[in-house]
Amino acid sequence: MATDGTTPLLQVENLKKQFHVRMRGARENRLLRAVDGVSLHLEAGETLGIVGESGCGKSTLARLIVGLEGPSDGRILIDGEDIWAPGAAGRARRRKFQMVFQNPAGSMNPRRTVGASVAEPLQAKGVRNTAEAVERMLTLVGLDPALATRKPHQLSGGQQQRASIARALIADPAIVVHDESIASLDISLQAQILNLLLDLQQDLGTSYIFISHDLAAVQAISHRVIVMYLGEVVEASDSTAFASRPLHPYSIALRTATLLPDPAHERGRGDTALRGDVPSPMNPPSGCRFHTRCPLATDLCLQQKPLLRDAGGGHLVACHYAEAETQAAETAEEAL
């Protein structure tokens, strides 16, 4: 929350996105609530991490924020103004967002040179002489500017992704959304890109929304973290608090499932995995959507959906029993 009363750079208010899905051979359409009431905010120069697994709606959320799709309900405000305002005003606001996608090869036109692709956002803004900006940007992301004349397939995966980042930053956007932007890279390259993003944020002051299923990657660059499950936010806090004390049982499960390079620790854990599969987003469980897999679930959880509440210090969690679990987990950790 902005404590000094200024408007956050980005405000997302109760965002919803629904799809009508017709299964072949079925009688009627079913409603897929991909994003079901998500609210968040982002300050300038900050990175918000969004972590979740399949069906949580994070990719849809990414597309909504960037303005690739319109919401079914709710608002997205940049500098306090609706990005879906009609006409030129709305378009100008949507242009303040850029996106980096998961598949580096697929997100660049194979028939154009890397330089041309990187220059695109500037050209869309009406700038004519893009050569210098391209060169500057490529150097900034750690690429040899000579690569501008090559085609994407002539670059390695890591180089392609750096070029995608250059393209996203060249028109000086306010917010860059990364949708699993490092997932397809080798580990050493993932770490390189994460470091690069940290450096770039320091140099350019761009805000990021970093979406990933990899909790470790999200924690590496985020100031604040949001955990999503089946279209909803189940926990939100700053990353340090999240690292020391995840509250929601799902967050804890995510954290436990993120294996550390420490054989003794991993061996000693035993079988702490969550049971069951992720429910279908078309048929979410009643009450708390996580109750089907939650070790703490009771009848209350089945009947009543917990709302996001402040568990102290701005750490939000949507669970009836969050603190009790954390205390139990802490005792267990000490016992280990």
């Binding site: 299964m23 072949r24 051979g25 079925a26």
Partner: protein
């Protein structure tokens, strides 16, 4: 599933209705009509002309004519041919079986040869066997049907007149003669169709063979031939089956040519003759039969998909 079939059949019905209307309309667009055929081109007085027209019901407005015609057609009465004097239905009943037999035999031969040829070509892709299969079949595909037909006719009548009996003999009369009379036409039309089936199968198989589940089957120890002809081919079937439906259009056109060259008394030749002699009732009726066959077969192929691809069955 049942619901889908019913929906599809209703769709087919409406398509056929539209087709029949179109066919009828085209017939009416042809300059001149039945009257001039019956009465002859010259020497008829206006009154005679009008009298015949009235008798034929051709003075009524077009939609009324259409409904009359349709009602009769649905009862099996397509009218009488002014040229032959026989009812159109009689001729149809004699011609349809011949064409059906030729079409079915072609389908059978082209599938029995084309499918395995395609599988082998895909498995040995870009190696000698593949090149051989493709070149030989595609060569026949590039030569027009009527050229192949006439060539075979020449070869057959010149070098093996005893082996290939060129005039048609019905099965009932003499089975052996029948086979000998159908052999050449079958060969003519089967070549290009087989080539196309082979090509289609090869393409579909190549895609399927690269899938990870084929590697799984191999890793589990399934025999290679079984993998090719069961695990893989089964997944390649949808595009191949689509193609067979599509093939029909080509087949129908080929039938007309082949029946003409080899003088087979089938629907194709019947249609050509009817067109040449301006036998309107016959033209309309045969066009309708062809169109119906096409629509029904494509609808059948369409309904086959859920059977072939479990993913399309709906949970």
């Amino acid at each position: 599933m049942f619901r889908m079939i019913v929906t599809r059949l209703i769709g087919v019905f409406f398509v056929l209705l539209a087709v029949s209307a179109l066919v009828f309309a085209f017939g009416a667009l042809i300059p001149g009509d039945l009257t001039s055929v019956i009465v002859g081109q010259e020497g008829a007085t206006e009154e005679q002309f009008e009298a015949v027209r009235q008798k034929l019901g051709l003075d009524k407005p077009l939609p009324v004519q259409y409904v009359n015609w349709l009602v009769n057609a649905l009862q099996g009465d397509f009218g009488t041919s002014p040229i032959t004097g026989r009812t159109v239905a009689t001729d149809l009943m004699q011609q349809i079986p011949v064409s059906i037999e030729l079409a079915l035999l072609t389908l059978l031969v082209s599938t029995v040869i084309g499918l395995p040829a395609g599988v082998i070509a895909a498995v040995h892709a870009n190696k000698r066997l593949d090149v051989l299969i493709r070149m030989s079949l595609l060569f026949t595909f590039s030569v027009p049907i009527f050229v192949i037909g006439i060539l075979l006719l020449l070869v057959g009548s010149r070098w093996a007149p005893d082996l290939f009996r060129v005039s048609y003999t019905p099965w009932g009369e003499d089975p052996v003669m029948h086979i000998r009379s159908m052999a050449m036409p079958l060969l003519t039309i089967a070549f290009p169709i087989t080539a196309m089936t082979m090509q289609m199968t090869r393409g579909a198989m190549l895609e399927v063979l690269h899938n990870p589940y084929i590697v799984t089957a191999r890793a589990v120890g399934v025999r290679e031939k079984r993998i090719q002809y069961l695990h893989a081919l089964r997944n390649a079937l949808p595009p191949i089956v689509t193609f067979i439906g599509f093939q029909l259009g080509i087949l129908l056109g080929g039938l007309i040519v082949v029946e003409q060259i080899f003088s087979l008394p089938g629907l194709g030749r019947g249609m050509l003759e009817a067109i040449n002699t301006r036998d309107y009732p016959m033209v309309t009726a045969t066009t309708l039969v062809f169109a119906t066959a096409f629509v029904i077969i494509n609808a059948l192929v369409d309904m086959l998909y859920p059977l072939l691809d479990p993913r399309q069955r709906g949970r």
